[in-house]
């Protein structure tokens, strides 16, 4: 079975400011902050007025017990809004709310781990944002969301080539076949032909 070399595997590129946009919506997770700060800096020199039309939602890297707050590098900038979130679902809920109110002319920038990008893109797709309105830069863990094609459950934070499905407990081979609609890679039963015979389990998505 084809595992790699599959066209649907997303390709990312370093974020660049698109100052043809009227409004800018930026999402960052963990080390993704650095990419957002870089693109804001680029924007500041190309079209300084764009900062006042830029909203930033971030999940900062913070230690346990530390209150969640936007990194000071963002708070200093004359942005329209900066908000910090403790976890992905809360950020996505706010993002969805913003998409519902946003106008044509909005550009989306996402920086962070691929699974975070995927979930943001899935929502953006529901609002019919096209490729020319979205930029994404992959930073951080390559851990994957894996969709079980047998029971349709999604297993999170997968770092290995073979993984046990959280719901049906089949051993799944993780393919590069990616679904933008599901924001997940496809997992296919690895030992269907010869039950119990599995290739060695290796960490491949660090």
């Amino acid at each position: 079975m084809l595992v790699t070399g599959i066209k649907s595997k997303p390709v990312y590129a370093p974020l660049r400011a698109d100052v043809r946009g009227r409004y800018h919506l930026m999402l960052g997770m963990g080390v993704g902050d650095a990419a957002l700060l870089r693109v804001i800096e680029e924007m500041r020199s190309a079209a300084p007025q764009a900062l006042a039309a830029t909203r930033v939602l971030v999940i900062p890297q913070t230690g346990a017990g530390v209150p969640v707050a936007a990194p000071p590098e963002f708070s200093r900038l004359p942005l329209q809004e900066v908000r910090a979130f403790a976890a992905v679902p809360a950020l996505l809920e706010e993002f969805k709310e913003l998409l519902g109110r946003a106008l044509m002319g909005t550009r989306l920038y996402v920086a962070g781990p691929e699974s975070f990008i995927g979930l943001a893109m899935k929502l953006a797709l529901e609002f019919n944002l096209n490729k020319d309105e979205i930029r994404a830069e992959e930073l951080g863990t390559l851990a994957r969301r894996v969709y079980c094609i047998h029971c349709r459950a999604t297993t999170e934070e997968v770092r290995t080539n073979i993984v046990e499905c959280v719901a049906c407990h089949r051993w799944l081979l993780v393919r590069d076949h990616y679904s933008r609609r599901l924001a997940a890679y496809m997992g296919v039963m690895a030992d269907a032909e010869a039950p119990g015979e599995l290739p060695p389990v290796k960490e491949v998505f660090a």
């Binding site: 043809r20 998409l99 946003a102 044509m104 019919n128 944002l129 096209n130 490729k131 020319d132 309105e133």
Partner: protein, 320 residues
């Protein structure tokens, strides 16, 4: 597209609906149904005039779910090269016409969250069919329709009957014009804008949308250019090994076809890119009149759209 793929239709009704526009109904001579199409499609009508053959693209305006016949609207062009005059003056109820199968180069975006349509004059025709496709659906849409004066408002009664509350009229004679910035600065994410009409209208809509940050994938337009007249020139067809003379009032494509050489085409209006032909040798200038090639491609001087483009040259050799 070759002549073998055309259908023969009979003109079953003609109505002069505005001072400039005639409305034609076409039905298959053998009975039965016409090929299915989606809103925004056009057909090419082959008109065999006394001295030459005209092939003009016309948008289908009838409801796509009514396939007993097709309807088209033809505006009489002041500077016609003959096609629209042929349709207006020569075609009668009962006349037979050859048409090419429908092709859609002006599609609705199927996953749009809203559609904003802007029509100027005869540019209303593709929208008449698109509106039918949208009528029963859940996606919001609106039409903004601009004409010189009320007597020029084609298909108004059909719009009133089938699209009440979903369109707005703008009459130049009342000094009522579409406020492009007002319209395009305030649309929800996932909106698509579609414009069809005179070149000036299309340019203003594209400029305004881009100014408000709309990306190209949300801006759709269609304008069929009539092949402009120009100086006569000669072209050598390398594969057919013949020289073809292109007179001032005939297009490059028409002149080549008149010599029995087929050029593949879909729109004949500089839109689809299907007839793109390699230029093998050129001593002179190409006059690009299409909306397909980018400026960079045009500057390379190695490709041409024979449906609308010409040349001012001593030598032109095409890969045909």
């Amino acid at each position: 597209m070759s002549e073998a793929q055309t259908l023969t239709v009979e003109v079953t009704a003609i109505e002069q609906i505005t001072p400039l526009i005639k409305h034609f109904k076409l039905a298959p001579i053998a009975g039965g149904s016409m090929p299915a199409f989606s809103g925004g499609s056009h057909i090419v009508v082959v008109m065999k005039g006394a001295s030459r053959v005209h092939r003009n693209p016309y948008s289908l305006l009838s409801p796509p779910n009514e396939l007993g016949g097709y309807e088209i609207g033809v505006r009489r062009m002041e500077e016609s090269r003959g096609g629209s005059h042929f349709m207006h003056d020569e075609v009668r109820v009962g006349s037979l016409l050859e048409i090419a199968h429908p092709v859609n180069l002006f599609n609705l975006d199927k996953i749009a969250r809203k559609h904003v349509m802007i029509a100027g004059g005869i540019g209303i025709t593709p929208f008449m069919a698109m509106l039918e496709d949208l009528r029963e659906g859940p996606v919001p849409y609106e039409l903004h329709y601009s004409v010189r004066s009320p007597e020029h408002a084609a298909f108004l009664s059909r719009l009133n009957e089938r699209q009440a509350g979903r369109f707005r009229m703008y009459y130049d004679s009342d000094n009522r014009f579409i406020d492009f910035d007002g319209l395009l600065s305030n649309q929800p994410l996932g909106t698509h804008v579609y414009v069809c009409g005179p070149a000036g209208l299309i340019t203003r809509v594209i400029d305004s949308a881009q100014g408000w940050g709309w990306p190209d994938s949300h801006i759709h337009w269609e304008q069929f250019s009539a092949p402009p007249v120009g100086d006569a020139f000669d072209v050598f067809l390398a594969r057919s090994k013949i020289t073809v003379h292109v007179p001032p009032d005939q297009s490059l494509m028409e002149s080549i076809e008149a010599q029995g050489v087929e050029v593949p085409y879909l729109c004949r209006g500089g839109v689809c890119g299907f007839c793109q032909t390699k230029v093998l040798e050129l001593d002179g200038e190409l006059i690009h009149n299409d909306h397909f090639l980018s400026d960079a491609e045009k500057a390379r001087r190695n490709t041409i759209m024979p449906c609308v483009s010409r040349a001012r040259c001593k030598t032109l050799v095409l890969d045909l």
